[in-house]
């Protein structure tokens, strides 16, 4: 299914919720809507579903203008953050409800389909229970199974995992990825978490303050953010941003830290008329062991956040606040002196208006 939005806006009273956007969703693939809360993800999804009508513009399905056509007359499945099920129906009946509504299916077929879906989402032992008797994770699995049962060509998921424990989230996300890959639906998945977008792969649309900033294959958007705003929205931990100025040898950070930039990039910089730029450093590009050619940034440790697999070191550096992502568990005393090392090839450089000038080469680039 090809869903296209043309010049769509949404205004509520005097407030602009969505600025004019043109958006052609990649058919039969997962599109992640990435943005902070209030970025306009839910608004956009409601327009896609037909729950709301755009203030301006057209919504096309396979070239057909469906603007203003109510959601009932479209074939859309939706899953919400809250675990929404029919409280008085057993799990099996919950999953079966879209199949029964569709009509034309005999009981045995419905039964079999329910069993299949329940098995896929690991809720087959609970088919006879009521939703309230299940844990949060199981309830959301029921909601997902019901949405999948609809086999709608368009499936919308609005932060479906946000209310679950992180381990459950991990598990369910993987299962969902596999289900999306095996299905044929066009899937839209809203999330606030950059890592979730990367784990889901597919395509990513970055939304910020009601604007669609960039849309493309997820890895490409991540590695080549067209603007500062995209880089900021699509980095977790937040991308380190430092003010710099273009000098003959490369870029000067603050007063005393010169960065020699690689040859190819230097050419780009030579064309830049404005001298002041913003330098972006992803947390993963900073390390504590120096390698040849690295630039040292010194400062004091503010906090080391440990996630297990990673340690995020927050540093008050001479050039400004920095966050470094180190693999594994590392301890740092609060206030201890620290040197972080940076390979200049890992730099992002944005011009004064925030447009991307230089990005590091990324492995998937073709």
């Amino acid at each position: 299914m090809q869903l296209t939005l043309e010049g769509v806006t949404k205004r509520v009273g005097a407030a602009m919720h969505l600025y004019p956007l043109d958006f052609a969703l990649q058919p039969h693939a997962v599109t992640v809507l990435l943005g902070a809360t209030q970025a306009g993800k839910t608004t956009l999804m409601r327009l896609m579903a037909g729950l709301d009508v755009p203030s301006q513009g057209r919504v096309l399905v396979d070239g057909d203008n469906v603007t203003g056509r109510p959601v009932r007359e479209r074939n859309v499945a939706m899953v919400y953050q809250q675990f929404i099920n029919y409280p008085s129906l057993r799990v099996a009946d919950n999953i079966a409800s879209p199949l029964k509504l569709r009509g034309g299916l005999d009981r045995a077929t419905i039964d079999q389909r329910v069993r299949e879906l329940a098995a896929k989402l690991h809720i087959d032992p609970f088919l006879d229970r009521l939703p309230a008797e299940l844990s949060g994770g199981q309830q959301q699995r029921v909601a997902l199974a019901r949405a999948l049962a609809k086999e709608a060509p368009l499936m919308l998921l609005d932060e479906p995992l946000v209310n679950l424990d992180y381990k459950l989230r991990e598990e369910l996300r993987e299962e969902l990825s596999a289900l999306f890959a095996s299905g044929d639906s066009t899937v839209v998945y809203a999330t606030t978490e950059p890592t979730e977008a990367l784990l889901l792969g597919g395509y990513t649309a970055v939304l910020d303050a009601g604007e669609l900033l960039q849309y493309g294959p997820t890895a490409e958007v991540f590695h080549r953010p067209q603007s500062l705003r995209v880089a900021r929205a699509f980095s977790d931990p937040p991308i380190n941003l430092l003010a710099g100025s273009v000098v003959s040898s490369g870029i000067q950070l603050a007063a005393e830290v010169p960065l020699a930039v690689p040859l190819a990039a230097a050419k780009t910089l030579a064309d830049v008329t404005e001298r002041s730029v913003t330098v972006g450093i992803r947390a993963g590009a900073l390390r504590v062991q120096a390698q040849p050619g690295d630039v040292a940034l010194t400062g004091r440790v503010e906090l080391a956040e440990i996630s297990g697999s990673d340690t995020f070191v927050h540093v008050a550096a001479a050039v400004g606040p920095l966050v470094a992502q180190l693999t594994g568990v590392h301890y740092f005393e609060l206030g201890a002196a620290i040197s972080l090392y940076l390979d200049p090839a890992q730099l992002y450089v944005f011009d004064a208006r925030g447009a991307l000038l230089i990005a590091p080469a990324f492995p998937g680039a073709r």
Binding site: T327, V329, L334, P363
Partner: protein
């Protein structure tokens, strides 16, 4: 302040019969005076019950709670002199921020001068000084939660301050700053702090010692590094780290380790332990699996089923027999293609071995895990 010793079990049923009837299975635990602890586990693991038993809001059905050796099992939170901060902000709406912070002190008849200095100090620590004269109602959620934290920390003589997932309502971007505040506060005030959470970052960042819990059982108490490097229980391996530890069923067969159709040779000391175990499980973290040359020592052949670019690293999924292994590769390395056959080193110094009860029996770097198997 006090040292807290627990030796108890708890069931919400009047007549518990089997393990699953218990919210908390029998446990013994000590919290040192002035330490920072976290109780970590998925929802329903019993961590909040344990916290409420320490605070005195719940009375354990079996056993005792001791503060500095004195049995306080029957005492109320006030009598135990405990402070507690809840998941959602609890503020007294009609009072100002300053009155909110002063409330626990006023109730205990602390002299006004003393209250003033203490409230001032806590407000400064939590960066609430500018808002002291504002009404607490209708402040933003994070400011309200800071007030709740402040009320918990304001008393100097508390036995312990307990936190029940206190950062739930805090905006993700502000969380690290509050974590930092809490750590600083612990440094400065030297209070005993016990923190309940299901979030590994919260627990590992905050606490000197983390208690990992599942199904009413405390499966390991240790530092972040210990939980990551030497999980004493398979659950800990799975729960800490994302993705969690890889597990491969294995057995000792004729002097070698057999797993997924491969035979691997191990050091004699480790072999002794594994021979005694017979069947066991190999656990290796995605961070420690390495790409190896064909037929290398300690390596298995696997088929790559998925390659994900997670920005700062490659996440590889590869099938070995029935098992899917996760591998975290550095972004600098060239990632293999889906469908490629690769050799993965699974037996190394960081590999852990677990017995049938999911307890650690040995690691690759040493033969025995110091009595971890109970």
């Amino acid at each position: 302040m006090a040292r807290i010793d627990l030796d108890l079990a708890h069931s919400y049923l009047s007549d518990p019969k089997q393990d699953s009837d218990y919210a908390l299975l029998p446990l013994q635990m000590s919290f040192a005076d002035g330490g920072a602890y976290a109780l970590l586990g998925p929802s329903g693991c019993g961590k909040t019950t344990l916290l409420n038993i320490i605070s005195g809001l719940v009375r354990p059905s079996h056993g005792a709670v001791r503060f500095d050796g004195a049995d306080v099992t029957a005492r109320s939170p006030q009598q135990r002199n405990i402070a507690q901060v809840f998941q959602f902000p609890v503020v007294y709406d009609t009072m100002t921020v300053a009155d909110n912070l002063a409330f626990p002190l006023r109730n205990r008849g602390v002299p006004p001068e003393r209250i003033k200095t203490r409230v001032g100090r806590i407000a400064e620590m939590l960066e609430l000084s500018g808002q002291l004269n504002q009404r607490a109602a209708h402040l933003a959620a994070d400011a309200k939660q800071k007030i709740s934290l402040g009320r918990g920390l304001v008393r100097e003589d508390v036995s312990a301050v307990l936190f029940d997932e206190p950062l739930t309502v805090i905006d993700p971007h502000l969380k690290w700053q509050l974590r930092r505040k809490l750590k600083q506060i612990h440094h400065e005030l030297k209070l005993t702090l016990i923190y309940v959470t299901h979030d590994q970052v919260e627990a590992l960042t905050f606490a000197e010692q983390v208690v990992v819990m599942t199904r009413g059982r405390a499966v390991q108490i240790g530092t972040a590094a210990e939980l990551f490097e030497r999980p004493h229980h398979m659950f800990v391996g799975h729960f800490i780290g994302s993705p969690g530890m890889n597990f491969l069923p294995a057995r000792w067969w004729d002097g070698v380790v057999e797993t997924a159709g491969h035979t691997l040779r191990v050091a004699p000391a480790l072999g002794e332990v594994l021979r005694a175990a017979g069947e066991f499980t190999l656990g290796v973290r995605p961070e420690y699996v390495r790409l190896a040359d064909a037929s290398a020592e300690g390596a298995l052949m696997a088929e790559v089923t998925q390659v994900q670019d997670i920005g700062t690293y490659w996440l590889l999924t590869a099938r070995v027999g029935e098992t899917l292994l996760r591998v975290r590769l550095s972004p600098a390395s060239a990632a293999p293609q889906v469908g490629a056959k690769v050799w993965l080193e699974v037996l190394g110094p960081h590999t852990c071995c677990y017995d049938r009860d999911q307890q650690l029996i040995a690691t690759g770097s040493e033969s025995a895990a110091g009595g971890a198997s109970g």
